[in-house]
Symmetry: D4
Subunit: 217 residues, 8 copies
């Protein structure tokens, strides 16, 4: 288990992270962690490693693109002084290019995405003990689909930055691809983006495995 | 224009037809026709052929499969004594096989679909002046996608029955396919089923063209 | 088709334009264009000319008079940098003279109407590729009715300004008059102002025909 | 003052009578009389003739046509054993012919209207002390307007039945016509049917004057 | 009729005036005048003297005491430039002494009441054509009741100031006293303050009679 | 303390008893006893005599008259098998004579009141260990007030029946009269019927004292 | 993994099972499995063993005691024809003895509990492939606490019946006890019964481990 | 009775004090005192000592810790100029250490608690006639429970400060402990903190007895 006692673990991202978390705190009682993978990660850590006292904070905001993260990075990441930081961003950067194609000022193309994400990660890496980068994903098994193709390119950027900065890299797309070998995407999410509990449990498990969670404990 | 003066034109189907129409009437003031293609068809007929006095009735119910149409056919079709009947059904018959794959009693497989639809159409054809069969569709341009493939098979059944019964056949999938050459499906519907106004206007135009609507009038 | 690729087409006006559009954006997903003729225009353009990528923006606000347009012209028109601009205003300028006759400071009489509208149009005409002026209307077939008479006078002002500024002129009143030869106004709108889908489809068709929309495409 | 001590005065009709009265009672505290002319009549009687103890009951139901009155006449009139009965019906019988012209089974044409109303009045007249027939009306000053013309014909039926049965006749249309010489109809009602307090006060005053109310008391 | 053509008639007061009027305007369509005596006065003036075009404005605010009127007098009276002003205040000044007797800073005793009201009236009298002072009232017929006694003293102050300033004086308490000879107060208002339509109609009639309304017109 | 261990104490009455209790149970968690004197009695018994385990049930229904109690006596009293029964009824029997004076079928005059109450009490007395009769009351200190006078007459009936049946008699009116020597009724209840916590605490204390509650325990 | 392909796994119980599941189905899309441990079990099965197609059904109802299960056993268990059945009941049987101690007819004492549960399990065991009995629990670490003691006795009954019927036995209390060595119960549930996600994840993991879920898959 | 005529008695604290009081006033009509022990104290004082005219003000705010009291002390205590002050604080200071153990910045440990409370009390004592300090409590009868132990330590601090400052000390924990000898805590509060009416009545009685309330008056 890579996270040590009394550490603060902060998640930042879009609606996949947000999941109706308490705002602005993102932690506390009464569903404050939302109803998605962040809450499940917190629940696994609390119920399995209660002695570690790991403090989880959820700073996801639905609809966010990397451009939005940049705008609130000081307040929602730096000022929070996390020990571990998890970033999953990019779905909306890509999706807007496909669902509102004529509103180009709402698109974040790959150059801006890469530049902005790298700035954020590079500036923050030295201040944290652990940094996890999760790829954006699209629940479309057809790799020739245009939006899937674009999403894969953004995922590749995440991988590159993770390697450059020596961060933990998690390929959420790969995890979903494996699952979609047996399950059609509509069984996870009608819109191929916002999954039901099956998808969020998969994300939580994938994350936990990558940080050394001991499933036999 | 194939529909004559003072005729009643009844639409039956699923959520694409329903679109929050007034229940149970399906006609009248204050949005009674719903906010989808049926209301647009009615608006075009009223504003272009007011002298014909064509009475439109919307009997769509969200989530319906052909099995549900059969259960309410007497009340919602036969008793209504329509002069013209429009049927678009099958999306949910297929979709449930993909989004709740383990709940098999909610699936309507192609044999039941074909048998039921044929019974309904054959029994009703002699009682109406005009009968229009519209295919179900899926806003997925990849024809190798499993659900798209299944949907196409169901559409082929509709075509076959239309030919057998000498009904007007409308290939909604073909209309959407043409549009998707330029527009990614997410710009029409996040869930690839329930389109925005662009999709419903397309359905209305396609329907009207097929019944001889004069666009230059 | 007069509007070219990648152009922005902005509508400004009163409740006929507004129709519960998303505020303040007036564009995007989930019914952002409202449920009136602007959304129908957008749907026709998107479904028929998807390759043009025309971006529609709805800046209507219910209850507005030309005096209100002036107050928000900088923010809602100039700053938006539209390529094409469509203006339909005047119904409330006239209506208030008849429904709250004693509250004279809420009336915009014809001199102020003409002067204000001309200023707005003249100042903006040089900055856009296309400018469309639509008359206000009243769903009252009796041309001797006092309010109809006043509305016609305001419509004449619109026509005059359109001619002066070489703008496209659309006579919505004439379109409705033709329809009312067969349909009593109560079948379009109980209040003779806010029409149902039949009226909005008529407005959309009239607009589209005037900008060269190809109905046979 | 024609109504005597301790009598029950029952109003039946459509939305003009109803005005959100308490259902099913139509009398009592907390706005039970609705917010229209029936409540104002009750208020005038109570505040001016408290010693008479006249009991007012409101049995209006929005949207009713004479066909609907017939269906509930036993329960809402006969069983109530009123001493005085006031009937105002017909607006919806006419209106539906104009606002949903193609839905002919919702129209009550003048033959049915006259026959039904006469049956109801003739059968009830012998059981009451006083019977008041009020015309339906339309807030349209143009007597050549088709709907106004029809409404006037229905009003003439009311007058005829009132004379036949020796009932008190109140010409509400005439009262409104006089008012509309100075006020445009939109200042009373956008839809030319459901008036604001000015219209309801006029109805109440006209009714009271016709039953001998002493305005100088 | 004392009020002339095109004049503005402004009412200010407490909940008896307010009655859920539109805020802040206090005039316009859709129940803007509230559902109390002010709306009834407006309805009588509009329906009987439409040719005068008298503009009514309702500036009542529930719970107000004379102290509150003073605080908003500039904005809600002076800036409105009324031609006629009607003031009815004092019920809450008295009531609070009896329903929250221990919260003395919420009481307005008679010295402050008289001084404040006189200042307001004296300063405004020269600027208006007509000024009407209506007494506060309490629907308690027992003149020995302590709160009734206090209310009568406040009413006497109103009378004195009306005489000093040559304003029209209306004794609402006297009007209600006469009515209560036949009706127990609970039939008008459970709380002996906020009457039903019977009480508001009485207030409206009393007001109108005092300004020369012709009931036989 | 007159009530013994493990006994069921049932209250029946009108809104003073009801106070928004859980329906139909009238006992349990989460405010099931309402927010009036019954809940306070229960709270005093539970917090002072927890060892007795007295079970309180609240069967009050707002607006009830003795006529209504009779209609539900079998279900809400007899079938409940209470050990102790408390009845407070009569306020609405009287009040309706004063607030809806013309609706005489809603009045329960004193003969019916006495006869009905006596029947209920006499038939139930033999089946219970203890029976408490509480007078109705009116928060009007003036004993010459007509409604107060009537209420006192009904209270005298309660006293008479209590004596006849050897029941515990509680004079709630006397308790309130003493309080009103120092407090104006509006400080307890604007409508002189439904008191705030001060009134309900007084009722609870008066009840408890009458059943031998030891305040020094 | 003990559950085979295409099997139906049904959960029945109280609020811990229910968790706002869809009623009456207990399966499907849009949170139909509730937000508790049943949904998490389903999510783990779907995301880890999609190829097995295990169908989960949630038939929990908040507040149920074993007495309630018996009443709906035919409809909610037998008629559903499950292959695997999971039963967790007893918390409310015990809790009511402590939170509404005087309402004894709401208590289910241990004799009734044991007899009823045994009947249900014995009658159903032969019809299913697998049967899992989970103990009720109380999040109170002090084993001398009276309610905890009682709960432990009920848990022992579950264990006994599991052994008698050769069912899988899951000791939820033991799982929570281990967790509470490090976490105070208030961090799991203020009421010591309804846990947050940490508690439900613990229940889901404990269940899955007991049916042979492979955490390394 | 220690509180004299016309004095102001102010309560400050957390949710036990707050109980949904009117904000910001904390006094007045319509449940302004909340539905907890403060309202019951007010009701007892008003109904038993109406001649004293004691003014009660409730300044509790749910969730407050002593740290929060300090932040609003000037506004909510000093500026209010109370004659008597009652302080009950500390439950949340302790609870947060147990229900969100990892969020340490939300904990108020005993040193800060004692220092802050002493500052507030010492600075205010000279300005009031009477000062009452009530302990925080936890409805947990097991004195070895960790949270109960901590709460007792905080209660001891309150006692010490009361003695130092010669304030009236009320041991609420002791009062509840005595009650819990006969009643399990779940019958008072599922969460062992927010009691039902039984608990609040106990608090009110304990408070009143400590200020010399005469229960036999």
């Amino acid at each position: 288990m890579k996270i040590n006692k009394d550490k603060k673990l902060l998640f930042i991202g879009d609606s996949i992270t947000d999941c109706d978390r308490a705002k602005p705190e993102g932690e506390g009682m009464f569903g404050a962690y939302g109803n998605g993978y962040v809450s499940f990660v917190n629940a696994f850590l609390t119920s399995t490693y209660p002695e570690l006292g790991i403090r989880v904070v959820n700073k996801g905001i639905s609809g966010n693109k990397v451009r939005d993260l940049k705008a609130r990075w000081q307040e929602d990441v730096v000022d929070q002084k996390p020990d571990w930081l998890v970033v999953m961003i990019g779905i909306n950067d890509v999706w807007r290019q496909y669902d509102i194609p004529f509103m180009k000022d709402h698109h974040v193309y790959i150059e801006e995405y890469e530049k902005t994400l790298r700035e954020l990660i590079e500036s923050t890496k030295p201040t944290v003990e652990g940094l996890v980068l999760m790829t954006p994903y699209y629940l479309e098994p057809n790799k020739e689909d245009p939006m899937r193709k674009t999403m894969d390119a953004y995922g590749a950027v995440v991988k590159k930055i993770a390697e450059e900065t020596n961060s933990i890299f998690i390929d959420t797309q790969a995890a979903f691809d494996k699952l979609m070998e047996n399950i059609y995407p509509a069984a996870l999410a009608w819109d191929r983006v916002h999954p039901n509990d099956s998808g969020h449990i998969l994300l939580a498990r994938t994350f936990l495995t990558n940080i050394g969670f001991d499933w036999t404990k």
